[in-house]
Symmetry: C2
Subunit: 157 residues, 2 copies
């Protein structure tokens, strides 16, 4: 298992970075030497994953060219597997890190019927949840997690 | 000059894709064979750029491995030049495309004092604008645009 680094968040040295400390308590789908994949456990967006860089880096451009290439390979692989399993209407990719400045990429499957469509998932909801469709997606998450784990293991060991 | 493709948006065939039609009317900082860089002209976020893929593709994973590599090289180059000129507190990268499903990457310089910090720029503002600091950033945009154009031209021709 890769060891989380002991570095602290740059903004408040008294508060350990939650991604270094792994206190986010989200389901870890896969963990490798450079990255791990967690599922965000978002009630309205069941296929919401995060590719987290294991070492504490704030910006994507803090990585070396090789590291960036590996990181985006993982992000794209997650996008491809999510598309293969769920055929969402859109995939959103983002690395923001304003609250937790430790590099992590959001990979979020989106549908025209989802609560926030067409807005980003971070804004106010646009409509009530479609519980039947949501449940249909949720029921496929275990297989999707298994598929993601297998593909990431095959690619990154 | 690269020709915009004539494809239409997938969601409404009667409405041409605004990024293909180039009807967004935003300042074009640089334009190359595969990508162009525009500035979003956002009143609250002066250093908000978009790397737009010239051809109509919806998802990042619709690109080939070589195209993805070139695309992220451009996104990272923009991030690096923005950091070099403005030293923002954070850079946000995102490709959403829910409203306009034509691949474009947002590269957004963020500050602790900006109207939306620490939320994404797409949500409701968190505070009033700091006009002095905003103006200080704005005054450096022409030099930043020039720097971006030079670096992109050097890298991509």
């Amino acid at each position: 298992m890769p060891q989380p680094c002991a570095e602290l968040s740059g903004r408040d040295a008294a508060t350990p970075c939650p991604l270094c400390a792994q206190t986010d308590r989200l389901p870890v789908v896969w963990s490798g030497a450079w990255m791990r994949l967690v599922r965000a456990d978002d009630a309205q967006h069941p296929a919401f994953y995060r590719v987290i860089w294991q070492a504490h880096r704030a910006e994507f451009s803090d990585l070396s060219a090789l590291e960036r290439s590996a990181c985006m390979d993982a992000v794209v692989l997650v996008e491809q597997v999510v598309r293969g399993h769920l055929a969402p209407d859109k995939v959103n990719l983002a690395t923001l890190g304003n609250v937790v400045p430790h590099l992590h990429w959001h990979v979020i499957a989106r549908w025209h019927w989802d609560t926030h469509w067409p807005q980003p998932v971070w804004g106010p909801p646009q409509r009530a949840a479609d519980l039947n469709r949501l449940e249909a997606v949720r029921s496929r998450i275990p297989d999707l997690d298994t598929g993601l784990r297998a593909k990431l293991q095959e690619r990154f060991g």
